[in-house]
């Protein structure tokens, strides 16, 4: 039986679950999500997924297109920025996909379906690896790079339109082959050397970039050396040959690799378990977040370890977000140093801030099985025997979320601020935006958590804070801020006054919201005392 058809139902169930948990669809419209789920079947799920990928591409393209259009930089700078984007997104995608390929299926050692498959186990793993690559490629790489390429091309670097399809093809083929070629290395040769195995992931990610984008750049360089009418052929000719070779390798590696056992996976899991048993004392840095309460420190450490060990994928996506915030900060710094008016910087800054805040909300909800008070539901009574009430548990969870989510936000806030220390005239703006971002982040992180904690504490289930509400609030506040700014600047022609007054109002709004959270925290503590009586 054809293996693609053999596992159709398996992938259909997974895809259906992805849609059920889709934050994007939830945020767009619950009705739309239900409409899709009602029509979703094993026969049409691939078609619907293709449409959803297109929708995601369009959405990301709109956001990234807006960012690139809002940057008033030269065409050459934009071209360089686009190549930098290829390297950053491509590098992280390689790293994540290669590291995930070391454990093809989550919980593989207990998976009954996988055990039942017997001789078809390898086929399923192959399909999972390819599906994951396709998903990363069509749902992340293309949506994140398509619009920047288009904007760069339209701004004068038309050559980008020619490169893009070749970049997509070579990157896909190189990454595909690398995934399968490294399997034997990870499951046999390096099975007892986890550190070398981890380091090699970075090496292979680098190699993937060199063999895809690097070769592209090399051929481009060679073609520019030949100043003749057949210049384009010098680029395309060898590239087509190279793609042909990669295509052959792809077919061969798919057919011949993966004759390994799963021992490595199980042993790696065991090693992690043994390591966790050996940890007696909490990390010193955690004491900063939980004062001197030992049980709270242990709860925080348990969550961090669980997050790091069980959810490597999430850990890497958080790293990606932090790295992306470095890239975004780069946009802001370059715009600040080049642009004459603050208005254009502010528009771009606003769009990026919306993105980062949406990512924050996204992660906040995505990790809630570990990072919310409700995740400790069955242990709450047990914790109370150690004087850990709902209020203190809430604080631990706030600390946990801050540890996880704050780096990306702080990088985004702090880098332009540090840059402006050497550019005196920009300091007021960057200081204000740093304050806004920190206040904003505190509200974003604390608000759903306090609502969750109160819900648990007061045993309420009727009203609960929905994920999309927070996104809508962000979009409304940011949209109003942007509109107000453009309106004031356009009408009165006093940009700087507009900028600072709007930011000032924004800070006041956030501070009021912070006070509201404080009020809710007191309620959590007060009712807690009552319930103890």
């Amino acid at each position: 039986m054809d293996n693609v058809k053999l596992f159709d139902r398996y992938f259909f169930y997974q895809a259906r679950e992805d849609i059920k948990n889709s934050f994007l669809l939830e945020s767009l419209s619950k009705r739309f999500k239900t409409w899709i789920l009602n029509r979703y079947s094993v026969k049409n799920y691939k078609t619907i997924n293709a449409y959803l990928a297109l929708l995601k591409t369009l959405l990301f393209s709109a956001i990234y297109g807006l960012i690139f259009l809002s940057l008033e930089v030269s065409a050459d700078f934009l071209l360089g920025l686009t190549y930098a984007l290829f390297f950053v997104v491509g590098g992280f995608m390689s790293l994540i996909i290669l590291s995930l390929s070391r454990q093809a299926i989550d919980g593989i050692e207990h998976d009954h379906f996988f055990r039942v498959l017997a001789k078809n186990r390898q086929s399923l793993i192959k399909r999972v690896l390819v599906k994951r690559l396709n998903k990363g490629f069509f749902l992340w790489f293309i949506p994140l790079t398509f619009m920047p390429v288009l904007v760069t091309s339209l701004s004068g670097s038309l050559v980008m339109i020619l490169h893009y399809p070749f970049i997509l093809i070579t990157f896909y083929l190189v990454l595909y082959s690398t995934i399968f070629l490294t399997q034997k290395l990870y499951f046999h040769t390096l099975r007892n050397h986890p550190i070398i195995s981890d380091i090699s992931l970075y090496c292979f990610s680098g190699l993937t970039l060199i063999l895809s984008f690097g070769v592209q750049l090399l051929l481009m360089g060679l073609s520019t050396l030949v100043r003749a009418s057949y210049e384009i052929l010098v680029y395309i000719g060898p590239l087509i040959f190279y793609i042909g070779v990669l295509w052959l390798i792809k077919g061969l590696v798919y057919k011949h690799t993966l004759n390994y056992s799963f021992t490595h996976t199980v042993i790696m899991k065991q090693r992690a378990y043994v390591k966790s048993n050996k940890i007696q004392k909490p990390y010193k840095v955690l004491k900063l977040f939980t004062k001197k309460h030992k049980v709270l420190q242990q709860i925080l450490m348990k969550d961090l370890l669980s997050f790091y060990r069980k959810d490597k994928r999430e850990f890497f996506s958080l790293l990606t977000t932090s790295l992306m915030s470095v890239v975004y900060s780069g946009f802001i710094i370059s715009a600040l140093s080049q642009s004459e008016g603050l208005l254009s910087v502010f528009i771009g800054d606003n769009v990026l801030l919306i993105m980062i805040m949406i990512f924050t909300v996204f992660y906040l909800y995505r990790f809630k099985a570990i990072t919310w008070v409700s995740s400790e539901d069955k242990y709450l009574t047990f914790y109370q025997t150690f004087d850990v009430d709902h209020a203190s548990l809430y604080k631990v969870k706030v600390s946990l979320n801050q540890i996880l989510l704050m780096p990306a936000l702080l990088i985004y806030g702090a880098l332009p601020f540090i840059f402006s220390l050497w550019q005196g005239e920009l300091l007021p703006y960057t200081s204000l935006r740093l304050i806004v971002i920190v206040l904003y982040a505190l509200v974003m992180i604390k608000y759903p958590l306090i609502r969750d904690a109160l819900k648990i504490h007061e045993k309420r289930t009727n009203s609960f804070f929905a994920a999309q509400d927070l996104v809508v609030i962000i979009l409304l506040i940011q949209g109003a801020l942007l509109f107000g700014l453009v309106f004031i600047s356009g009408q009165l022609g006093i940009e700087s006054v507009g900028v600072y007054s709007i930011i000032g109002l924004f800070i006041v709004a956030l501070m009021i919201e912070n006070f509201h959270i404080r009020h809710l925290e007191k309620r959590l503590k007060r009712t807690g005392e009552i319930s103890h009586d």
Binding site: L6, F7, H110, H112, V116
Partner: protein, 232 residues
């Protein structure tokens, strides 16, 4: 028949088996007995091919299926959807025989519930049912009765015996002596990084029970004429 010849296996820092031998005969129920952590699950995983032996040979004449003691069954599906999933990769069993098994395992009312609402015992039943759908000759079953109430235990024991009547080979791990006595044709246990097998008779079982109670030390082991080892 399953034949293990001079097999060795270690986890980092811990040896489980060293040059161990074992023969499991077709159409019989073999119970692997031992305390928690001794290596019962590892032994079943080695036979299944899920873990790779460090040295030695394992001869497996037919495909085997392993049913884990805490089967991961995709909580987001209903029991019926999970059955559909397994059916999509097997299609060996007819709906009629499937209905019979569902009824026998008392799963009919639970099929439309989500798996996350199942008790561990229910999950075991569903895992066993779906394993039967793929119609293997050999079933490696890890601690199937540990999480069941007495009524369900009795039901499962009857079910295993019925499977044996159909000619299936069952290798079942447990730490429950009574279960071993009731179910097993042969009993396998770990001793000094080796595997020992005894026939399940009243005398041998009594001897084995004494052996367990006397600080798990085997006094002497001798081989029977058919190649099986028996405790004196």
């Amino acid at each position: 028949m399953i034949k293990l010849e001079n097999i060795s296996f270690s986890y980092p820092g811990e040896t489980i088996l060293s040059e161990a031998n074992l023969t499991i005969e077709q159409g019989k129920i073999t119970v692997v007995l031992g305390k928690n952590g001794v290596g019962k699950t590892t032994l079943l995983s080695l036979i299944d091919g899920y873990l790779t032996i460090d040295s030695g040979h394992i001869h497996l004449e037919e495909d085997a299926i392993y049913i884990y003691d805490q089967p991961h069954l995709y909580d987001y599906l209903s029991g019926r959807e999970y059955i559909e999933l397994i059916k999509s990769v097997s299609a060996n069993k007819t709906d009629q025989s499937l209905d019979h098994f569902i009824e026998h395992l008392q799963l009919t009312d639970a099929l439309d519930k989500m798996i996350h609402a199942y008790s561990l015992g229910m999950k075991h039943k569903l895992a066993l049912l779906t394993a039967l759908m793929v119609n293997y000759q050999t079933y490696l079953i890890d601690e199937p009765l540990a999480s069941l109430d007495p009524e369900s235990q009795a039901l499962m024991i009857t079910f295993f015996k019925a499977m044996k009547e159909e000619g299936k080979t069952l290798v079942i791990s447990t730490h429950m002596l009574e279960v071993a006595y009731e179910l097993a044709d042969d009993i396998v246990f770990f001793n000094d990084l080796k595997l020992r097998k005894i026939e399940n008779s009243f005398d041998s079982f009594k001897a084995f029970k004494s052996y367990v109670l006397e600080s798990l030390k085997v006094k002497s082991v001798s081989e029977e004429s058919d190649g099986n080892k028996k405790i004196k």
